[in-house]
């Protein structure tokens, strides 16, 4: 409902808005115009705002580089290779049988972010552990082979990960993330 503005009577003009609100005509028609105009304007603003917001999302050429292939034969038993994927390191670790058995043994050790070791590698490939090498605390890169569990130790705030990349001590809330990847062949994986 439109109400007549206070100082309207100062202006000697035909004031249709005031006339409508005095009940001389159906005010809902005017309200409809106001609401329709505001809705059209809001739609227009949203349509213009979205491109201005979306332009900050990853661009087409950035997304085009979002999957990579990696040749596993480059990794020696007991070692890991870091691969850059989406501007971040991915750890590709060739685990020893000892490291695997330690990880499996800890499946029920009261984990902060419970996950079995089997859920963190591809079926039948327990030796290959592929993880996003970014500490889930504040984004630093944990160091390989350090810490009491033989997995990783984050140099920034002391988060400790085991040989399955699960968080075992320190401030980080979650396990090291497992990226989307698949085996193209026995010696080649595609990440992303």
């Amino acid at each position: 409902m439109l109400r007549p503005r206070k100082r309207r009577d100062e202006y000697e003009v035909a004031d249709t808005a005031a006339a409508a609100s005095h009940g001389e005509d159906d005010p809902s028609r005017r309200d409809f115009i106001n609401i329709a105009a505001a809705a059209a304007a809001a739609g227009g603003v949203a349509a213009v705002a979205w491109p201005l917001i979306d332009q900050m999302n990853p661009s087409g050429d950035t997304l085009a580089l979002s999957s990579i292939e990696f040749d596993l034969s480059k990794v020696q038993l007991g070692q890991q290779v870091e691969v850059k994927w989406r501007s971040k390191p991915v750890f590709v670790r060739y685990r020893t049988p000892k490291e695997i058995s330690e990880a499996v043994a800890a499946d029920n050790a009261g984990l902060r972010d419970p996950a079995t070791d089997a859920s963190r590698h591809k079926p039948g490939k327990p030796q290959w552990l592929v993880l996003v090498g970014v500490c889930t605390h504040l984004g630093c890169i944990p160091n390989f082979g350090q810490g009491p569990y033989g997995g990783w130790l984050c140099p920034c705030h002391g988060s400790v990960y085991d040989t399955s990349g699960r968080i075992r001590a320190g401030p980080a809330p979650l396990n090291l993330a497992v990226p989307d990847y698949s085996f193209e062949s026995d010696t080649k994986i595609k990440i992303g």
């Binding site: 202006y11 000697e12 035909a14 249709t16 491109p51 332009q55 087409g60």
Partner: protein
């Protein structure tokens, strides 16, 4: 003009704010209740349209700067990256590039309106001067912006314009070298142009605030040019002119959108899709359309320094218009002679624009040959038409000074309301009161 404030704080928070920073009072008095002549026509909507254009250029420009690389080796590719890869980058870049043209279109209409209705005359000289400063800053900003894509036209346009300063005696060569940051337009030039291109729109926005301040002291001029006498001559800005400006802006945006979506390169130049090459100048160098009349005048004069001076005077004379004009009557509605000079002036600007777009020896009237050679060029050539246009251009300013000596103005109405009330028949029957009752 703004009179006493009608703002009444309604809540405790508004009262608290009003006694500390009366920004709501200011907004209500100046953006809503501001008494505006009730007879403004659609030529008056271009102020709001220009405010929109400036806002759109700043918004899209900030976005483009997030993706653009001001480096001679990467600038061209970064603009192509924006157009091809960045989400909606094509839309944002086309809005920005065409927005410059749309803003100049609007500013030229705004200026011609000011000239026709005598809006530059007392007491609005400072308003006009601030407007001319904005216009000058717009030209500088547009020039810097045009260099950034680092295509052939960007590069050679920058070369030509910066070389204009080389015409200045004694200090010219060292001045151009200082502008370039080297011995030619190169990476340092591109970097500083980018910096200035980002800076100047905010300077423009600041001058716009002063421009509106200077507008709100005497209030709007109007199509009759007659001063506002009392409240019956005005209506509050809101809703009467917010709606009118809004409608004018909507129509303008349709035109804007037509260029952005259907002819985004119509006002550009194909050579700017070729990366800058300091060793090859394109066949035919032209500035953007909004600078063509000045370019034509620059070329029309065979002496480098004199050409540059003519260019400066052509722009500078606009600044002193309020003091050239000797007519007591503001609006050309009531100036039978001056209005003809005004229309000739518009045609002159268009003809000079045509001249600037063509090569100096281009034939003007096809099919009759180039004619005899007068001085350096054939009589039927672009250059001689440019010289004629230049004479006409400066002739207009002379007419502002001279015409009032010979002209008998038509009777000027006593007030803004008088011509309307004197001819009630011109208002269609039944269109007077309460149109909402007509269903």
């Amino acid at each position: 003009m703004s009179g006493h404030s009608t703002y009444e704080p309604k809540t405790a928070i508004e009262r608290w704010l009003d006694s500390r920073l009366p920004i709501l009072r200011f907004s209500k008095d100046h953006l809503m209740d501001f008494p505006t002549p009730k007879n403004l026509n659609y030529w008056w909507t271009f102020g709001a349209i220009l405010a929109f254009c400036l806002g759109a250029q700043i918004a899209t420009g900030i976005v483009l700067a997030m993706h653009y690389v001001p480096n001679a080796a990467m600038a061209f590719n970064s603009v192509e990256h924006i157009r091809r890869d960045v989400n909606y980058g094509w839309l944002i870049q086309f809005i920005h590039a065409n927005g410059a043209s749309m803003m100049f279109l609007a500013v030229y209409i705004h200026m011609f309106r000011g000239i026709y209705y005598g809006s530059y005359k007392a007491p609005r000289e400072v308003l006009w001067l601030l407007g001319m400063i904005i216009y000058f800053l717009m030209m500088a900003t547009a020039f810097f912006g045009y260099v950034l894509p680092w295509g052939q036209m960007s590069f050679w346009g920058a070369t030509v314009i910066t070389n204009i300063f080389g015409a200045i005696p004694v200090i010219g060569p060292s001045l151009t070298s200082w502008l370039w940051g080297g011995f030619a337009v190169d990476d340092p030039t591109l970097n500083r142009f980018f910096s200035l291109h980002y800076l100047l729109p905010f300077v423009i926005a600041g001058v716009v605030v002063l421009h509106i301040w200077a507008l709100h002291v005497p209030g709007n001029n109007n199509p009759t040019g007659v001063n506002v006498k009392d409240k019956t001559d005005t209506v509050p800005f809101h809703p009467y002119y917010t709606v009118k400006d809004g409608f004018g802006l909507s129509v303008f945006i349709v035109l804007f959108g037509a260029f952005v979506f259907y002819a985004p390169d119509a006002m550009g130049h194909v050579d700017n899709y070729v990366p800058a090459n300091p060793l090859v100048t394109p066949q035919h160098i032209v500035p953007e359309w909004y600078l063509l009349p000045y370019y034509a005048m620059l070329r029309a004069i065979p002496n480098k320094l004199m050409g540059v001076i003519a260019l400066g005077v052509a722009i500078g004379v606009l600044f002193i218009m309020p003091w050239i004009d000797t007519s007591k009557v503001r609006s050309m509605r009531y100036r039978p002679m001056a209005r003809w000079f005004f229309f000739i002036f518009i045609v002159t600007c268009l003809v000079l624009g045509w001249c600037g777009a063509h090569e100096p020896d281009a034939v003007v009237i096809p099919g009759v040959g180039a004619g005899f050679t007068l001085g350096d060029y054939p009589i039927n050539s672009d250059v001689w038409l440019s010289r004629l246009g230049m004479l006409s251009y400066f002739g207009f300013f002379a007419s502002l000074f001279l015409v009032p000596m010979f002209e008998t103005p038509l009777p000027v109405p006593e007030s803004i309301s008088e011509p309307v009330l004197a001819h009630p028949a011109t208002v269609p029957a039944g269109a007077t009161a309460a149109p909402e009752k007509k269903g």
